[in-house]
Symmetry: none
Subunit: 155 residues, 2 copies
Amino acid sequence: MAQLSDSIEQFIKELMEEDAQIELKRNELAQHFGCAPSQINYVLATRFSVDHGYIIESRRGGGGYVRIVRMTHPSGSSLLETLLNRVGNSIDEESANAIAAFLYERKLVTKNEALLIKAAVSRNALQLPVSAKDVLRAAVLRNMLTQVFRNLEEG
Amino acid sequence: MAQLSDSIEQFIKELMEEDAQIELKRNELAQHFGCAPSQINYVLATRFSVDHGYIIESRRGGGGYVRIVRMTHPSGSSLLETLLNRVGNSIDEESANAIAAFLYERKLVTKNEALLIKAAVSRNALQLPVSAKDVLRAAVLRNMLTQVFRNLEEG
DNA sequence: ATAATTTGACTATCTCTGACTATTATATCC
DNA sequence: GGATATAATAGTCAGAGATAGTCAAATTAT
């Protein structure tokens, strides 16, 4: 009991009570718990995997971070609804890409399909003033998500 | 920790919101951010590369400058070029669907992928005044076509 | 015993700088 | 007016520093 991993999991989940998405420094967190940094990876891999409904994004180097995004959906609402909700009326490219990656990891789409989704919502594709891009990206992504799930039902 | 590189990227992108092309002085920008001039090159190389849809031109010596141009589309193979050409700057939904169907017939994309393309360029997805829809649809479709052919090259 | 956890050594990636190089414009000399 | 020197830019590259990732061995829990 009170395994280190459990404590770290608990700690992260408390941080996420407020927001469905947090960013942290792997090394800082490790130091906080007085453990090896790789311990953090272990916790993320075993308790915050896609199967558990989370998406992990990270960046190395100066200013690096680990971002944890909660993707679980309340029972009663479908995954599609959760995703549509997350997309909302406006979404930036990075988050849209994370959703495409999520779909791929969950095997809801193939790799090529994920790439197509990314292409459709990339900043290249949406040639509009930046402020409007996020809004349009959301609309395109919502439509594609709906299509993805329609395919699944039929298949 | 908004990294220096991120700040500079942001700064440049704000400058480019208005125009698809800007000119700046490398040294001035470096001074503005209190960093080494070569830092500017780093940001340009990592965030404004051709892959990111930008072209960099520059000139040294007195009155030198760095010009950043936002590309409208990358180049590709010849069928790709033909298709891109057919798409042009503006395309209606029916024609876009025809191209998706063509890709499927040619086995360049799977059925699901074709459906995804149709979803991305559908009237529903592109929530804009009718006049602008065709233009935007063309941009999205061009980007997706480019992605399709990129997949083919790698596969 | 078996499975889960924890660590540490090694690797990969990203950022930033500084020394050195290349190019262009302008001033100066004849 | 042309050649040459000087100043004003920008480019390149290797290395240091700052993070995060991986994986297998050691440890601990069940």
